[in-house]
């Protein structure tokens, strides 16, 4: 994977707005953002209503995803281009999610909704209706998703990257600062995890930094190329952004996203936790 196979520019999207084989999909933390205006032709996926099981704390099943994408008019051979707010956090999450279920042709719009808006490009409230398809998902690819037992076994063994803000990493905040701070879990991070805030991988306008800057960022943070890597944040969406950088832009082999992240880990009984700005010992 590389920047060329994983990202498209806003100009590319404008040039391909009328290509029926290119499906633009907006995914936002604020699910109402799409309804206030979206890129022409884009459909919406709601990361919570559409992509979470709703009963179990997990993704929807393969069968449910197939029904969803079929109804939304997404074909197996379509190029799916995700974009969204929050610097593509949830768009990166949806990209990772569809990768998990085996979709081949996926892209992120570099800069997402923010760059599109800051460029004053066209947004519309037109209703988008794509003809239904018969979508077939693949079996889940667990090589890109980490669960808690693997994470605990990885302490001091694999690269663990906590991509939350420094104050969340240290335990001074429990959630990103646009959300209320009362939470069920305790503060802190997984011992030995380095802190490389996801935001360091993005420019102010939400686009990804250059390959050279990204390589230097993770090298400086002590990421050992010889080891497998697990990224986590609070609920797995910001770490999807970092997973995307490491796996899809820089082409690292073994990178997993731990979507249970701190809301799960910080609520587990009797697991090691480190407080403060240092990674801590295994």
């Amino acid at each position: 994977m590389s920047r060329e196979t994983a990202l498209v520019t806003a100009d590319w999207v404008e040039e391909n707005l009328n290509d029926p084989k290119v499906v633009l999909v907006e995914v936002d933390e604020d699910a109402e953002a799409y309804d206030k205006g979206h890129i022409p032709g884009a459909i919406k996926l709601d990361w919570k209503k559409d992509l979470q099981d709703g009963v179990r704390h997990d993704f929807v099943t393969k069968e449910k995803l197939e029904a969803l994408l079929s109804a939304k008019g997404v074909g197996n051979d379509d190029t799916v281009v995700f974009y969204g707010g929050n610097n593509n956090w949830f768009a990166a999450y949806a990209y990772w999610y569809l990768k998990y279920y085996g979709h081949d042709n996926l892209r992120l719009l570099d800069g997402g909704r923010k760059k599109w808006e800051l460029d004053s490009r066209e947004l519309t409230t037109d209703v988008v209706d794509r003809a239904a398809t018969t979508y077939t998902a693949k079996d889940a690819d667990t090589s890109i998703r980490a669960f808690r037992d693997e994470v605990i076994e990885s302490i001091g063994v694999k690269n663990l990257i906590d991509v939350r803000s420094p104050d969340e990493y240290a335990g001074r905040l429990l959630a990103p600062a646009h959300l209320p701070q009362e939470q069920a879990q305790i503060g802190g991070h997984i011992p030995t995890a380095g802190n490389v805030p996801w935001s360091k991988a993005a420019n102010d306008d939400g686009t990804f930094r250059s390959d050279e800057e990204l390589k230097a960022l993770y090298a400086d943070a002590g990421l050992d190329d010889a080891k497998d890597t697990i990224a986590y944040c609070r609920i797995g969406e910001r770490s999807s952004h970092t997973w995307f950088v490491l796996k899809e832009i820089l082409g690292h082999d073994n990178v997993k996203n731990y979507d249970g992240s701190w809301t799960e880990y910080g609520a587990l009984r009797a697991v090691p936790v480190a407080l403060g700005d240092e990674p801590g010992a295994a």
């Binding site: 604020d30 953002a33 600062a177 959300l179 102010d204």
Partner: protein, 98 residues
């Protein structure tokens, strides 16, 4: 919409006593800017969070006690930095002009 509302969004339902709220409104020539992005930087300048403004130009953060900087990006404007101090139980109101 005629002119900007004063201050950040309504605090109804917000646990103000236990939060260090930073909020306000973004305006240009006295008019609210509904498509701006406000980011919260910590005392070292590191990104902590970002929100788009509402249709009425308003935004809110739940920070921790301490020194913060708001950096506001809006279409056709240079980014603007506003320093702000947050404290638990206090609502820090910031008026941002772009």
């Amino acid at each position: 919409m005629c002119g900007a509302v004063k201050g950040g969004p309504s605090l109804e339902g917000v646990d103000v006593a236990n939060e260090a709220v930073i909020q306000g409104v973004v305006t240009r020539d006295g008019q609210p800017v509904g498509n701006a992005y406000v980011r919260l930087l910590d005392r070292t300048g590191e990104f902590t969070a970002e929100v788009p403004t509402s249709a009425t130009g308003q935004f809110r953060f739940f920070a921790g006690p301490g020194e913060w900087t708001l950096r506001t990006l809006a279409p056709k404007a240079v980014s603007v930095d506003n320093p702000v101090t947050a404290a638990t139980g206090v609502v820090a109101e910031v008026a941002v002009a772009v």
